[in-house]
Structure formats: structure tokens, C-alpha cells
Point group: C2
Chain length 337, copies 2
């Protein structure tokens, strides 16, 4: 594997070059027994619990940004989708679409980062596929990951159990990921640094699953941000959610990035945060559990489930009014994840 | 959902447009209970057997070709990877990367085709993700599918059991898929028609798994063709494979497409064929089982496992010589699947 070389169409042909790429790059870094069967699929263990299955395609631009890169994002994004469903993340697949001429050294950096992220999350990348498209038919590299996890016996996290009086919590500062991407894409004259929050939240979710019987639902507020995630919770449901602007944790640097663009931080994507709805009696316990963990240190209770208005999210603003917070409408920044 | 409209960046934003696309297009066509939980992951049943996991990214050009389209290919390709591992294909994920400006009517055709292919294969598309990239950042649409299947108790299809004397069989005419793509991409002056063999082979593989105790290994010879698949079987193994040119089933039209391009049919991709290695005593039974099924009607025994040369595939040619058949080297046609 020549590291000063670039990806050629032959790397996607299925022949010698593909074989070399698989054995000497993916095999070497991802390095685990099911992958090294080198079949077109991975034969894995029998699961004890119910199976949870998810997928994400990643097209983030730039490929490397403060706090992460497309590889780390691809792994943590898929791990997080499994984790917030209450599952223990186990195995990931990795499908790469690479533009001809892409640097193999850069690909190696990305693959290395995927392995590190997989190690942190306790998962294995067990199967994959590589396609090469021509110049101008992709923008460098796109990575699609799918993930399989196992649900603990008896766990049932569904919106059906949510009821007025329940509490809404968030595990920390919102908007960091998208703000970091915006800053990396545009040349902001700003001294303050901002890093993506890109991280696997499986430890937070596992602790909540084990300790909070009244846990209703968890979700990672990625594209569309906190506001869109809350709207998904209430969509066509017989309750609403009311959150308090003065409680929502937003860093000054994120506010500073939002302001000139007319963005609101609750529409910015996060990649290492969770939103949790829980019974009121256990809200403090949830807060304690989250705050004990480095990724939940800045967790806060931001609002509550209300009987009216049904299907709506209300923002209680700093000036004391309630306004309806809709899902994200139209586009903000494309290719943030 | 306006069907005369095109995909906008907002369809990938995670907000209203994405929500609309998921509920009114993917939800409507894929239509199954786990998908309609509309979480970021699908909660599925407990499996009885061992889990098999696979993924493929699809970048085929053109998107529609004789015998199939990118949607059908994405589903059958992933189903087949599970099937040849001996697994019962169960659930698929679907990650789409769509270029801004792509026709929603065309997307609907593709999604409809995916559903039909899923129905034929007895699988459900239970979870997905959609990303939109700018003009010139993709070529229409790329689809990454991952699949989960269940392995029957006690089944162990690994190259370790392959031994000299075993027989090598193929389920029908080779090269049809890639020949159809070549013909669709170039303007061949040729009256004969050729269709891709794109089909799910799960019924063939299930019958072999149930009835052939000496079944060693199965594989679908996609990119790199029959020659590359056979080379993967022998790679670093203490045996070789010898196949006979006069037994390999190749249609005249495929030969006619290969000849002016200098291609050999055993390097052409197939999307509905299987290669099988089995104990000699059961070779006839394998042939009978394959030939009973429409997809295996033209199955033949093409060769045998030999003690020497180790790690090599030999082609016994029409003129009576033996030549080494290597993996595909370099590129043939890119973006065939």
C-alpha cells in the first residue's frame, strides 16, 4: 500500500487493488476476527436481547474539523443512534464512496480515526464495502455506516409513555458541532475557539437505562438541533413540550457565530449530546447521573411536558413570552454531518 | 410531496422537508412497523440463530438499465451477500446520498423498485438516512444498504473445509450484468439484447443449505467476476481450483460485447449468480437443486478443487492448455454496481 499514492478507479474494481486496500488498510486498522473472515458479510455471535439496527450516511465538509473528522463522526453518529434507543452498540459496517484521486494518506488518517472512535465506543467495524467514482462525481469521500446493537430485556423506550408533568433534560451545551463546522467553513474573525462535541454517548445512555425506571425516551439532537428533536417527540402526540430559554446551555462563542447569520442555537446540530424525557420524580437522579460523567457535566433540566398545546413545542423566552418553536424549516448549512 | 419537484438541500437538513420525505415517500413505500416507529433506529425481534451483517454502497451508472435499476441492485446485492453466507436475509437499512436538483419522481421510481425487490426477497427496509449534497458533489444518487440475516444453527460455511476433489459449480450464464451496463453506457451496434441478471438468490442458497451437508462455500461473483471470486477462495489456502473454459456458460451476446473491448467474461460482474463449492458426492444433487429453480436453470459444474498449484486458479482453455487465471488487475468499467 503506497501512502503517497491516490485512489484509482481500480481500487473500486473488486480485483487486486481492492483486495490490497481491504487487507492492508481496512483489515490492518479495523483488525477484528469477523472482519478478517474477509467474506462479503460478517458472521457474528448470537444476541441475547432484541436487535436494534440503524444507518447514517456522512458527507460532512470539511473532512477534518476542530473536535473531529468524518471518520470519528461516522462511528459516533451510528453508535449514538443505537445508544439513545437504549441499546448496547455492538457492531458497525462501513461503506465508502471515494472520489478518484483522493489521497491514500488522508484515507488512512480517516480509517485510523474510525478505529479510535470504535475503541472508545466499544464496538467493532466488522464488514465494509468500497466504491470509487470519477473526478467530480463525489466531493472527496462519503462514508455510510450501519450499526447493530442489543436491547436489554424488558426495555421499552417509546413516546407512548410520555405524559404531562414529565421533565425534559439536555446533557450539555448545544450547537457546538454545527458552530464548529460553520467556523471551519467560513472565515470568521473571532478569537474564541469552538470544537465539535462529537463523542459517543453510550455510557450516558447505559447508566440511565440501568438506573431510571421512569426513563421515557432519549434522542441525540443532530441535524435540525434540539428544536427539531423536541418537535419529533410531540408530533401527532396528545401533549406538548415547554422549554425555558434561560435554562438552555449555549456557549458565548456559539451565540457569537449564530448572531450575524440569524441562526438560533436550538436549530444547530449536536454530535455528542442527548435529550432525555423522564418522570418528574426521577429528574434529579437523571441530572446527577449525567453530571457525574464528563460528557454530561453541564446537563440541565430545560423544560417539561405539558398538556397543551398538543403537538407543539413552546419556548418560554428571556422576555417572558411563550412562542411556538417549530421544526427547522428550509436549509441552514448543508453537509454538516 | 410534489412529484414534479426536485430534491433541495432542505431535504437533507433534518427539518420539515426531511420529515416530509421520510413520511410521504420512504414511509409510504417501505411501509413496515419497525420503520414506522420513525426513530433514528429500528427496534427489531430477537434472533434465534447467529447474526450475519453486511453492507454495500451502490453507485451504478446509468441508474436504470435493462433488467434493473440502482434500487433493485441495492436491495438484491445486500440480500445476496447475506444469502451466500448461508443466512436468511431479514432486514435492510438504506442510506441515500442525493445530489441537489435530483428529480423526486425518479427518486420515487427507485424507492418503488426497492420495495418490489425487498418483497421478492422477503426482507424489510426498516431504517434509513438521507443526505443531500450540492450540484456536482455526486452523480444523481448513491445508495448504501446494509443487511442483517440469521444463520441456521450449526451451519459453518468456511474455506477451511474445502479439499482437493471438491466440485465447483456456477448457477448460470456469467457476465450478463456487466455486459448490460457496458451496452447501456456505450452505443454498441448490436441487435442482440442483453439484460442484467440482477436478482435475489436467497431461494437457491436456502435450498442448498437445507439439503447439502457437504456444502463448503457459496459466493456471488459480483465485481471482478467469477475469476476474482475463485481467487478469493484459494487465496493463502493449501489448494487451487481448476476450471474448464468449455463448461463456463457465456451467452453469445456477452462474448460479442467482450471481444472488441478485450474483456474476458470471467472478469465481468454478475448480480444474480452464485458460485458453489461442494463435496464431489453431492455435486449432482447440487446441480439438480439449482436447475429446479428458474434462477439456476442453466447451472453447470465448471471445475474442481486441486492440490496443486496452491493458491492459484487454473483455466483449462479450449485449445487444451492450462493457464493461470489471476484476480482482476487494473480497472475494467467503473461504476457497474
Amino acid at each position: 500500500m503506497q501512502r503517497d499514492a491516490t485512489i484509482q478507479k481500480a481500487h473500486g474494481s473488486g480485483g487486486h487493488y481492492t483486495h490490497d486496500l481491504i487487507r492492508n488498510l481496512f483489515g490492518r486498522y479495523f483488525d477484528n476476527a469477523p472482519l478478517k473472515q474477509y467474506g462479503d458479510s460478517a458472521v457474528l455471535d448470537k444476541l441475547q436481547g432484541r436487535l436494534v439496527f440503524t444507518t447514517d450516511s456522512h458527507v460532512v465538509k470539511p473532512l477534518f474539523f476542530p473536535g473531529g473528522d468524518i471518520g470519528k463522526l461516522a462511528v459516533t453518529g451510528t453508535v449514538n443512534d443505537l445508544a439513545v434507543a437504549g441499546a448496547k452498540p455492538l457492531w458497525l459496517s462501513c461503506g465508502m464512496i471515494i472520489e478518484e484521486g483522493f489521497s491514500i494518506a488522508t484515507l488512512e488518517q480517516i480509517v485510523k480515526s474510525m478505529r479510535q472512535a470504535a475503541d472508545s465506543a466499544g464496538v467493532y467495524i466488522v464488514t465494509g464495502d468500497t466504491k470509487v467514482v470519477g473526478h467530480g462525481e463525489a466531493d472527496g469521500i462519503y462514508i455510510s455506516t450501519a450499526g447493530v446493537g442489543e436491547l436489554p430485556e424488558g426495555l421499552d423506550l417509546t413516546p407512548e409513555k410520555i405524559a404531562p408533568g414529565d421533565c425534559v433534560l439536555v446533557s450539555g451545551f448545544i450547537g457546538d458541532h454545527e458552530a464548529a463546522i460553520i467556523k471551519a467553513r467560513h472565515s470568521f474573525k473571532m478569537e474564541m475557539e469552538i470544537e465539535s462535541d462529537c463523542a459517543a454517548v453510550h455510557e450516558l445512555t447505559a447508566r440511565l437505562v440501568s438506573n431510571i425506571p421512569s426513563l421515557r425516551i432519549m434522542r441525540d439532537p443532530t441535524r435540525g438541533g434540539l428544536a427539531t428533536t423536541l418537535n419529533e417527540f410531540v408530533f401527532e402526540r396528545p401533549f406538548g413540550i415547554r422549554i425555558f430559554e434561560d435554562r438552555i446551555p449555549v456557549r458565548d462563542v456559539v451565540k457569537g457565530i449564530c448572531e450575524p447569520l440569524g441562526y438560533e442555537p436550538w436549530y444547530l446540530a449536536n454530535e455528542g449530546k442527548i435529550v432525555v424525557i423522564t418522570g418528574r420524580d426521577e429528574a434529579q437522579k437523571v441530572l446527577d447521573i449525567l453530571q457525574e460523567h464528563p460528557l454530561g457535566r453541564d446537563a440541565v433540566l430545560i423544560g417539561e411536558v405539558v398538556a397543551e398545546p398538543r403537538g407543539r413545542v413552546l419556548l418560554h423566552t428571556l422576555i417572558g413570552t411563550d412562542r411556538i418553536l417549530d421544526m427547522l424549516s428550509g436549509t441552514m448549512l448543508p453537509r454538516i454531518c
